[in-house]
């Protein structure tokens, strides 16, 4: 099975990056001014308390040994205990991960639903009013702070018209969907601003290709040419474009979850930082990075499967 081999090779290539991620997360708190113990205890601790916490956290050992024990902790499935929640960090992350994944998934679907039609219309009407209008729309959308849009949408849709809930996560599949829809739309809009431009270029390039001449010479009508020849070839590039923008979508959840009170990883990150819960912050940054890397790898594999020209066996 070539797909399996390709996937394995691709995943193996991730290992150096994963190690790098752990190093960066580790250094994040160690090389910043002030040691973690002082940062954690702040003004509340006496010199003895600080010394005791340092020993407890293993901060008196040399840096490389601290890193190795950090690595060992991760491999045993934990990042230590959360200071604020008094539970293992790993368990908390696992618990909250699903809300974020659901939000990311929904945002991606909505972004696709916005991107494909608008990019197609823009490409087919290149340089005409429809194209310029769509371009202008996205210029504004990209310049718009997501939290501002979210605030105004909540005012309009949730408070005035009362179609959507103001915040929270709900329970049960459809209720959750209802709660996530507005946040997902906000994230999707920002993402679509970037992906629409790329898809539009891709469609325009494909429309000029020689095989479109052949398709039209067969007597196919415009719609058939579009649906069977132009779009399939343009959409393949969409897979990698969305892969690139995964980082952007996932990052978007950080602010949006806080605005809408969705109990996901982003919300956890912001509250952990305010609470100075450093083990939590460390664990979360590693998790975010791993998510991005994993999704990128998956899109690479998906692209290889979708495009018949890519040779799966090396």
């Amino acid at each position: 099975m070539e797909v399996l081999r390709f996937s394995l090779i691709r995943l193996l290539q991730l290992v150096p990056v994963l190690i790098g991620i752990t190093i960066v997360s580790f250094l994040l708190l160690r090389v910043l001014p002030g040691d973690p113990a002082t940062l954690i205890l702040g003004n509340r601790g006496s010199a003895e308390d600080i010394a005791r916490l340092k020993a407890q956290l293993g901060l008196d050992a040399p840096l490389w040994r601290q890193y190795l024990s950090f690595l060992a902790d991760i491999l045993h499935g934990g990042f230590g205990r959360s200071i604020a929640y008094r539970q293992p960090v790993g368990a908390l992350i696992l618990d909250r991960m699903w809300a974020t994944l659901a939000l990311v998934g929904l945002s991606t679907v909505i972004a696709l639903a916005i991107t494909v039609p608008l990019a197609t219309i823009a490409a087919l009407n290149k340089d005409r009013p429809a194209d310029l209008l769509i371009k202008a729309f996205f210029v504004v959308a990209m310049s718009m702070p997501s939290f501002w849009l979210a605030t105004l949408l909540v005012l309009l849709v949730s408070l005035h018209w009362q179609i959507f809930p103001v915040s929270g996560y709900g329970s049960g599949f459809f209720d959750r969907l209802h709660h996530l829809l507005l946040p997902a739309i906000v994230i999707a809009l920002a993402t679509a601003a970037l992906t629409t431009r790329t898809l539009r270029s891709s469609i325009i390039a494909v429309t000029r290709a020689d095989f479109i001449d052949t398709a039209r010479a067969k007597g196919l009508c415009g719609r058939s040419v579009l649906l069977r020849h132009i779009l399939p070839n343009s959409l393949i590039s969409m897979i990698s474009v969305f892969g690139v923008h995964t980082s952007w979508i996932i990052g978007g959840t950080v602010v949006i979850e806080s605005v809408f009170g969705i109990p996901g990883l982003g919300y956890l990150l912001v509250s952990s930082i305010s609470a100075r819960d450093y083990p939590m912050v460390q664990g979360l940054t590693v998790t975010f990075a791993i998510l991005v890397v994993a999704i990128n790898a998956l899109t690479d594999i998906a692209y290889a499967i979708a495009d018949p020209r890519v040779q799966l066996s090396s």
Partner: protein, 276 residues
């Protein structure tokens, strides 16, 4: 290049003209405007609290009676200054690292690219928030955070350009003439490859403004009672039903800045393409 040449080139791109005009207007209003504005952004006056926009207070007042227009201007001064530094620093650091890495090549280049890949894996907001949040909300920490995170984008762009330029004839000629490597990179290569980085810098301004205001919104950036656009939007959320203008106008200001720099970026892009 002197002023007249620059202006002549600008005529080739309507985007650039429009963008430059918007920017000039923005800077004028934000920095000179306050002299004409009768209200102090920090002046609290409960008697006019939550007043909708009218002849006196063009943008209305907030829950403490402060004039929103004056605060939008004051916030603009701070946000724009921070954004300028938060773009300039990564631009300088990233471009230099990218250029040197591509020029030297070999192991150095491989290591730098691995570092870039790793930092790239972290979502922008996650890292910036983690750094600023850990260090504490100060302007200096924001500079540090943005520099540590955004340099990779510039490094990538400049590295790509230098990899190509390295093989071109004018570089070989400079070597033959005996110029040292440093001088070649700085005085010969960099000026020619910096253009795409500058175009990206314009979109980076938008990303940075959104980042800075997001930090303010989350309470991790500029602290109250300072005026800051993100902070104002956050403060206005509590009163969104009764006084939506408190949150509305700062957002519109951010959008205006975004449109301005999009126009400038597109304009620079036009100029680049028009080059013979």
């Amino acid at each position: 290049m002197n002023i007249r040449e620059t202006l002549a080139r600008m005529r080739g791109s309507p985007s650039l003209q429009a963008g430059a005009a918007c920017l000039a207007a923005l800077l004028l209003v934000v920095f000179i405007g306050p002299y004409f504005c009768p209200f102090d952004p920090d002046a609290i006056d409960f008697s006019v609290a939550m007043a909708p926009p009218d002849g006196t207070h063009w943008f209305g007042t907030d829950n403490l009676g402060r004039d929103v227009l004056a605060r939008v201007f004051a916030a603009g001064r701070i946000d724009l200054q921070i954004a300028a530094v938060c773009v300039a620093l990564p631009f300088a650091v990233g471009s230099t690292i990218g250029a040197v890495s591509a020029y030297v090549g070999g192991v150095v280049d491989a290591i730098v690219m691995r570092i870039v890949d790793v930092v790239w894996a972290f979502p922008f907001y996650v890292l910036v928030i983690a750094i600023v949040g850990s260090l504490g909300p100060s302007i200096g920490n924001m500079y540090l955070a943005f520099t540590l995170v955004v340099w990779i984008s510039f490094a990538r762009i400049v590295r790509g350009e230098v990899l190509v330029a390295r093989r071109l004839e004018y570089v070989q000629a400079a070597r033959v003439l005996g110029f040292g490597h440093g001088r070649i990179v700085l005085r010969h290569i960099l000026p020619n490859v910096i253009a795409p980085a500058m175009v990206f810098a314009m979109s980076d301004v938008i990303l940075t403004i959104l980042g800075v205001t997001s930090l303010g919104f989350l309470g991790l950036g500029i602290q109250p009672p300072q005026a800051e656009w993100g902070l104002m939007i956050s403060e206005g959320r509590n009163f969104i039903f009764d006084a939506p203008w408190i949150s509305l106008f700062p957002g519109l200001a951010i959008i205006y800045v975004g449109i301005t720099f999009t126009l400038i970026g597109d304009g620079l892009d036009d100029l680049m393409r028009a080059k013979p």
